[in-house]
Amino acid sequence: MSIAELPLLQQLVLVLAALVLFTSFVLLEQARLVAAIHAFAWQGALVAAVTTVVAASGQGGHLYFSALLTLGLKAVLIPWMLHRLVQRLELDGRADSLRRPALVIMAGVALVIFSYWLVLPIVEQELSFTRNIVAISLAVVLLGLLMMASRQQAVVQVLGFMSMENGLFLAAVSATGGMPLVVELGVAFDVLVAMVLFGVFFFQIRESIDTLDVDRLNRLTEAVEGEE
């Protein structure tokens, strides 16, 4: 089935999903913390938009609510919290240097192709109109993980973690018309709590080792050995 045969709203879902994927790449290579947080906010807004469009194409009322929830939480609240955190930690003009950006981007592209290859069997079952979005969602999840693996800055790693969650949510919305409301609320709450905890941790880490570069955490073991 080619895209031209789909109704316009569903085409819009596809466009938005592709943009979500793009924001994942922006997150992956964005060196500046503040800009990365903005990209993350955009990603949240796009996921909310996908949810709204899926809801509008007749997938049921509670999706509107989860769209609102996503928008409020992922596009506004969490980015705002991160922003404040970054300001209080005095990290705002800081750039987290990505060591081999081209290599990471190439790995990202390979991940997209890989996730497409993974979902091909699902696609052949003709599950739903937006079935190919599963591939995109999986790619967003994997890219989030890649981001966590390739960055040193703890704040950026949190962004990666959050964008993984975005990917999962996207998959849920597009493939099955959203999770039950209770589950969604629970997940949203979890994310929020995680955010708060991360914030606390950042201060703790910084107080104890004076940086947020996670590569420095390696030295903790040596320090302990040194004391013994």
Binding site: R100, L103, I113, Y116, W117
Partner: protein, 668 residues
């Protein structure tokens, strides 16, 4: 068709004759110039004629030579594929034969051995022609080794320099490892076919696993000879150190013989193609193309730079072959044919422009005694004809319309763009990535040749030798001119070339490209006119017409006075040649962008007298990644084996006895 085979035999015979004549060149040095080189040219012309005849007539003709072992006669066969490669060999050889006499002249008074040069050139040529003509594995391997060994002696020709000897030794080792892989590949095929002749191999039905083993061995062996990354390391060492006209033959032709071997074995002999092979060839081809051109950009030795470009172009050829394998495995025969035709076209083109560029480098070496770009400059005004021909070569290799390199890259792009017809979505998304690599390669090649031409031929001379450069003799200009004219012709008239090439896929794949010539000689339409069309003749006509119109209007309307003055110097001292951009400076931004891929060693040293010196060398990462581990492993195992070497004769005899016993036990 029999006449074509006779012509081919004549070409081989002429090559041997040239070798025989040059044996006497030790006493009469002029023999090389006045007898041997013209014979080489004639041999090339005969080979080209034989190839053309074979392509024109189609079909194939075989013959059996009364040589070889009693139960294993040598068979020759001239078919369209062999004919095409004979044509490639012949064209370049003819030009080299015309170019050669003037070039070897300066060797007459040197200490280098002229019989060796002439004799091994002849053997090298004969070997290449026989590889193409061979119709059984036995004859193929003998001819292959003849080619490899003869070219080894040509590489080591100027053996006074240690670097040349080292390069030649590396070449010899690599050639033999490759030869071994090819031999094993033929062994697999012969085991299933029940004979060493190609006919029985072709008839054999191989299971996928064994076919893949044969494919891998052939890919390894021929890829090593062709210089695919990461097996390319010998190529930029060996090709530049041979005399320039031999470099032209090695880069322009010998690599093509390896491509011939690959096509013969994979497309013709093993039969059914598999997509895994296609992916492997496509991936290695893309990597070779990209790495080749990036390393080429970093070189400032002109011949070495050209040698790295051979790696790039071989990569492009293999991209075409990989696409062809992918489409064939998917059942799209016509698209498979398109990929193959693109690869063959590029093979022909690369032979021409790389031959041309090496001859040009030879001309510079001849008249300015300089290989290093950093010392050149302003050669266009000193050697206008060489400059013009070299420019044609640069434009062709940079894949710019309307020259020949563009046509073959355009065909490759068109084949890649048909990837939407593939069944597998993953392949559909991988093929365009390869195409993007090809695009990057083309753009980088253009950057590289702007550097070469701009530094060597434009600007002002950077050294005294170069300032005194004079035009080269007529023969050298004629040799370059032949190839330059062919580069232009094959770019402007792609239809005739494709029509000629069509016989090859008809013969080995059973299908041609009917669509490509369906709209007359003006239009190249690989798939359908709505999909894509290119009319090189009209592009040329329009370019010329628009240029003429512009020039006419401009010269009428504008003030015609031209005044000569000094260049802009910012109001400071007038610029000197040393203030020009250098080759390294030109490539520096690209080096910085792709810094990851190079092994850069640079720094500033303070000399004893307080002055500072900047040094910068760029090494090939392939060495550290692939070769040094192998060397280390070999050395480690050698250290173990050395324990056998006790120095006591009786111990050696004991080992001999033990070996004998084991062997007897095995065969009993």
């Amino acid at each position: 068709m029999t006449s074509a085979l006779w012509l081919a035999a004549l070409a081989v015979a002429l090559a041997f004759a040239s070798g025989a004549v040059s044996l006497f060149a030790g006493r009469a040095p002029r023999l090389l110039r006045f007898q041997a080189m013209p014979l080489v040219a004639l041999s090339g012309a005969a080979a080209a004629a034989a190839g053309l005849a074979a392509l024109w007539q189609g079909g194939s003709v075989g013959a059996e030579l009364p040589l070889g072992l009693p139960w294993l006669p040598w068979r020759l066969r001239l078919d369209a594929l062999a004919g095409f490669f004979l044509l490639v060999i012949g064209l370049v050889t003819a030009a080299v034969g015309v170019y050669g006499p003037a070039y070897v002249r300066h060797l007459e008074h040197g200490r280098d051995s002229l019989p060796a040069l002439g004799g091994f050139t002849a053997l090298f040529l004969a070997g290449m022609m026989l590889v193409v003509l061979a119709d059984d594995a036995f004859g193929f391997m003998v001819a292959w080794e003849l080619m490899s060994l003869a070219s080894y002696f040509l590489v080591v020709f100027q053996h006074e320099q240690a670097a040349n000897r080292r390069a030649a030794l590396l070449y010899l080792i690599m050639a033999h490892v490759g030869g071994l892989a090819i031999l094993l590949g033929f062994g697999v095929l012969a085991a299933f076919g029940g004979g060493f002749d190609f006919d029985s191999m072709r008839a054999a039905q191989l299971p996928f696993a064994w076919a893949s083993v044969a494919f891998c061995l052939a890919f390894l062996g021929f890829g090593m000879k062709a210089g695919l990354v990461p097996l390319h390391a010998w190529l930029p060492e060996a090709h530049p150190v041979a005399p320039s006209h031999i470099s032209a033959l090695m880069s322009g032709v010998m690599l093509k013989v390896a491509v011939y071997g690959f096509i013969r074995v994979v497309f013709d002999l093993t039969g059914q193609a598999h997509w895994q092979w296609g992916v492997a060839v496509l991936a290695i081809g893309s990597i070779s193309a990209l790495m080749g051109v990036l390393y080429a950009l970093m070189q400032h030795d002109l011949k070495r730079l050209l040698a790295y470009h051979s790696v790039e172009n071989i990569g492009i050829i293999f991209i075409g072959l990989g696409l062809s394998l992918l489409f064939l495995s998917d059942g799209h025969t016509l698209l498979g044919v398109l990929g193959l035709v693109a690869a063959l076209y590029h093979t022909l083109n690369h032979a021409l422009f790389k031959g041309l560029l090496f001859l040009g480098a030879g001309a510079i070496l001849h008249s300015a005694h300089e290989r290093d770009l950093e010392h050149m400059g302003g050669l266009l005004r000193r050697m206008p004809w060489t400059g013009l021909f070299f420019l044609v070569g640069c434009l062709s290799i940079s894949a710019l319309p309307p020259f020949n390199g563009f046509v073959s890259e355009w065909l490759t792009f068109q084949a890649a763009l048909q990837a939407w017809q593939l069944d597998s979505g993953v392949l559909r998304s991988l093929v365009p990535v390869a195409a993007a690599t090809l695009a990057l390669t083309g753009a980088l090649a253009a950057a590289c040749f702007v550097k070469v031409y701009g530094i060597a031929f434009l600007g002002r001379a950077r050294s005294r030798h170069v300032r005194r450069a004079r035009p080269v003799p007529l023969g050298m200009r004629a040799g370059q001119g032949m190839l330059a004219i062919l580069c232009v012709a094959f770019g402007v008239l792609p239809m005739s070339v494709v029509a000629m090439l069509d016989a090859v896929p008809v013969q080995i794949l059973g299908a041609g490209l009917p669509q490509i010539s369906a709209h007359g000689w003006l239009w190249l339409t690989p798939v359908a006119p709505e999909t894509a069309s290119y009319s090189a003749p009209l592009v040329v006509v329009l370019l010329a017409a628009l240029a003429a119109l512009t020039a006419w209007v401009w010269r009428r309307g504008a003030v015609r006075r031209v005044r000569r003055g000094d260049p802009w110097d910012c109001g400071f001292a007038p610029p000197t040649p040393r203030m020009q951009y250098t080759a390294s400076a030109f490539a520096q931004p690209i080096r910085r962008v792709y810094g990851l891929l190079f092994h850069v060693d640079e720094g500033v040293e303070t000399q004893a007298d307080g002055s500072a010196r900047f040094h910068s060398t760029i090494g090939d990462r392939a060495w550290g990644l692939f070769y040094l581990p192998v060397v280390a492993a070999v050395e480690a195992s050698a250290r173990r084996i050395v324990r056998l070497q006790s120095g006591n004769v009786r111990v050696y005899l004991g080992w001999t006895l033990a070996t004998l016993l084991v062997l007897l036990w095995i065969i009993s």
